[in-house]
Symmetry: C2
Subunit: 79 residues, 2 copies
């Protein structure tokens, strides 16, 4: 399961399944670090066994290369 | 804005506004620590300037005292 475009076409999201709550929090923190490092911040959802990350570029009102770059980085780190 | 019951009556949620993405991540991590410590795990959503936490007791199919206790702890820590 890769990145999916939102119904309105303005954001991309991907979910990960992980083995418990602690692993979800750890992956969320990895995303936080990348986001702060790039100064490009997603929305995150997580709980027991899952993390979902959504990127959009608010200033552009949609998906930009910055979002795609962040997505590719996360894919590489979680492959 | 305090805790709100979900439309189906099976969960309680509260949102916090914070000043940026890093503060949201920090509050999320505080929730993670409490959750692991109590072995009672919420669902979280966060991003730039906000955190939302949702508690339910899956084994009971609804809200129990455990959820209310966690909510009260978070209220105290963020007051």
């Amino acid at each position: 399961p890769g990145w999916e475009l939102s119904p309105d076409g303005k954001a991309i999201s991907r979910g990960w399944k992980v083995k418990n709550f602690a692993r979800a929090a750890q992956l969320a923190n990895l995303v936080v670090w990348l986001a702060e490092n790039a100064n490009h911040h997603p929305d995150l959802q997580f709980g027991w066994g899952y993390v979902t990350v959504t990127f959009t570029t608010h200033s552009a009102g949609g998906v930009t290369m910055n979002d795609v770059i962040m997505a590719a980085r996360l894919d590489a780190l979680t492959a």
